[in-house]
Symmetry: C2
Subunit: 498 residues, 2 copies
């Protein structure tokens, strides 16, 4: 071999054409193995800012160089990043992520938050870069990282625990929730109605449909009026094409444990309890399991967005509900041998980013406590779970920054303040002190606790933040102002662009 | 065998218990074979009255005896009909047909037409009857006919011809339509925009999305403003969960025949023309073919509803468009060896009912011409098709009767008139003569031509009818007033209840 190599070398060494040909061939071979692909999944409970996050992520990459601030994203910082562009997505039957409408609302004057999405959507990016691996130092060609971004509702992850629950177990868990504060005030009427039904009577489909509608209405109230996070079954509030189908017409039935076990087991599918149970099973199989099989198992990296500030504003019960929701969501990433997943699916997520959103809604010195608080939320359940081989990071971010930071003097001391345009009073506990929508205000929203708040924290009622409008007025071809989107990119993409 | 029979007879003949047991067993065996099942499919272009039709059909059956007028439905007339009730549907993932809301709007005061459905829905009926077959004369037991009713948009059938068209052929057909009256006025701007695009340039997904949106908007204009019937692709105006997905983002491209054939064939999927073609193919496979495979092949009997009166009101072009749409829809029922279906699917429809709706919107002596006209519409294309083994019937019906018939004297002659409550002026050609909505009027809408109208008919402008509101004020447990729903039931169900 050596002699043959030598002989070919001797024959061709000074033939420039031959050298070019070899170079090209090497480059081609290397590129083939270097071109990379990532399936990036973005989720979060509804109104956690998924649409704004994806829009900003795409905006930062495709407008790199146009005022972008990506100091912590190595490929840009080290000059390896060349350019990114949107290219046609892979799946024809998945709705496209509507970047154009979204960037229009964020850059308009006055700007407004983009319309929320109601299901799954996709967008594909191609990122061109100059690989820096030493192997390639003689090669002028570029490599491409293809990124498929999938946006899906966090509520779908909340359904995962149902896979290991029987209808009876799920009913117990859910009726327990419905019968406790802060849900009980809203759900009492529904619970009373269901309690009157004979579980073994022949089912009347219209009655079940009516009660399912009431239960769904309760879920809306919990999420959008009480600001709660544990919403199950998740598809009830985002039904899509299943609206009005029997698979979404069931609800928890109280006190099942008190029924005779045999009677319960033998109840026919035409009885009230039999029909509810049959639909629950169908939901698990054809809604929950289907999502994990069709989509979840294909994701490489996952971003979970969570707004901790709104529950902090709403009070103790809302915050505890967020804790529980995060713990339920985390189960989807517990791959250990004892985890639910290792038995059912084979997901391949290797990086998991928890992003605490709205970092621009508190003053900068509060970001460290925000991350610390969020970490406590996660680690509470993380200890119970098994994150084998999954790298986890937590960041306090603002996908699109809405405020300017300044300072003012208060009782002789300099204190930091935020300046921004008030959006609405949804999250403001003290309605009386709410400034009018659209007003530009200067405010100090308060301190974020570093640890899970104690009873005394809730009694002192320290935190009170306002929702702000995006600033707007920038060109669509400029980068949006943000907080730590460069660190997001660094964590999610940089290792694939070496 | 005979001797053994005899001996058992001798042994048990006078044992009444044994006789009862035998009787029960026979009844059970017979019932098992006699219980019947029909998959009944109801379709029609949007606003042809599918929801009102199904509501009335169900209402007539479940309220039989409560004022029902079903003289031409043999099982009722001959006393074999016992009762009908709604029972839970079979498919958990198909939306339920919302009978309750629909009957509520039709019986309220003031009554209004039910909300239209936007996709497929289902409802299941169980009809109990006393079989009259002689075999059963000693058996007191009943038999059950289970009827699964499926409601789906007629637009889905209009897509069938696409299955045998290439993207090029479909583009030619559709651009021809867009470039002719009455569509051209609306579509000129769209056609001009598309003509400016280089078909071989790299595709810009956003531009294709924008143009697809414009094309979809045109389909809406054609259907709801111009009253036209040929709407393709049908899923564009009822997208459901595919809203925003690339599979619904294509449109016809003009003058494809003028392109170099090789260039066209070799165009990559990333070029404008290649991407449009790829999406068209995906649409055929995963929307059109999927519907036929999942649903259509399961239907036993089909009702096609068509409103001929509105196109007659709208004028020549609207009427000719209905002709073409009916011809396209009929292809779905052409099962001959040469038909498209025999090669692709194996449907099993044995009865096909064409119902000309709104028979109550003309005076009774016009029903015969209505049927005759509708027959001409069908037979025009029927000759070209092969209805092997499919029994076809045409009826002029009113699912829910909205008018009273009276007479008045005009120029010394007695003429028939209708009395009803005016709904709106959507279908009234002569806006000036439109009475106000909600007014109770007496009117003679004109004569329906017996044959396909000639040029002279359109010039004389004879026909001018008003849309009426349902009468309302009846109980939900009474039968709705109707025209010929009994004949509908007779044709669709009676032979299964012998």
């Amino acid at each position: 071999m050596t002699s043959s190599n030598k002989s070919s070398k001797h024959r061709g060494l000074f033939n420039p054409k031959r050298i070019d040909k070899l170079k090209n061939k090497t480059a081609e071979l290397l590129n083939r193995s270097i071109d990379q692909h990532i399936n990036l999944a973005v989720t979060g409970l509804s109104r956690s800012g998924k649409t704004a996050f994806i829009t900003s992520l795409v905006n930062q990459l495709i407008n790199e160089g146009q005022g972008s601030q990506l100091s912590f994203f190595d490929p840009v910082q080290q000059g390896n990043f060349i350019a990114a562009k949107r290219i046609p997505q892979k799946h024809f039957r998945v709705p496209r992520f509507d970047y154009d409408s979204s960037i229009s609302s964020l850059t308009a004057l006055p700007a407004h938050w983009p319309e929320p999405t109601h299901g799954i959507s996709e967008l594909r990016l191609a990122i061109r870069y100059q690989p820096k691996a030493s192997l390639l130092k003689y090669v002028k060609d570029m490599a491409t990282l293809t990124v498929d971004i999938t946006d899906y509702p966090g509520e779908w992850l909340l359904d995962l625990p149902m896979l290991k629950q029987t209808y009876q177990q799920w009913s117990e868990f859910t009726c327990e929730l419905l019968s406790s504060k802060p849900r009980l005030d809203s759900s009492q009427k529904f619970l009373d109605k269901v309690a009157e039904i004979d579980p073994f009577a022949p089912a009347n489909e219209e009655v079940l449909a009516e009660l399912s509608k009431e239960y769904t209405q309760l879920l809306h109230t919990f999420r959008y009026e009480l600001g709660l996070s544990v919403i199950q079954p998740g598809r009830f509030i985002l039904p899509g094409e299943l609206a009005g189908a029997p698979i979404l017409e069931f609800f928890p039935f109280p006190a099942l444990a008190e029924l005779d076990g045999n009677d319960y087991q033998n109840a026919s599918d035409d009885s009230v309890i039999g029909m509810l149970r049959a639909r629950y099973l169908e939901y698990k199989e054809h809604v929950v399991r289907k999502f994990y099989r069709q989509h979840f198992v294909k994701f490489d990296r996952q971003i979970v967005l969570a707004d901790c500030l709104t529950p902090l504003n709403n009070g103790k019960e809302s915050f505890q509900d967020l804790e529980q929701a995060i713990s339920m969501i985390l189960e989807s990433y517990s791959y250990g041998k004892s985890g639910l997943f290792s038995r059912i699916f084979s997901p391949k997520i290797d990086k998991l980013l928890f992003a605490a959103t709205k970092a621009d809604h508190v003053t900068p010195e509060q970001h460290a406590p925000m991350v610390s608080l969020f970490n406590e939320l996660i680690h509470q359940s993380k200890n119970k779970l098994n994150f084998e081989a999954v790298e986890v990071q937590t960041l306090a971010i603002a996908s699109v920054r809405t405020t300017q930071v300044g300072s003012t003097t208060h009782q002789g001391k300099t204190v930091p303040v935020l300046q921004g345009t008030v959006l609405d009073n949804n999250n403001n506990r003290d309605k009386k002190s709410q400034p009018p929508t659209g007003k530009n205000i200067m405010v100090f929203p308060g301190s974020v606790p570093e640890k899970l708040p104690q009873e005394s924290y809730w009694q002192q009622n320290k935190f009170n933040f306002f929702n702000f409008s995006p600033i707007g007025g920038t060109s669509k071809n400029e980068s949006l102002p943000h907080i730590r989107m460069d660190q997001v990119l660094q964590f999610l993409l940089a290792d694939k662009m070496l």
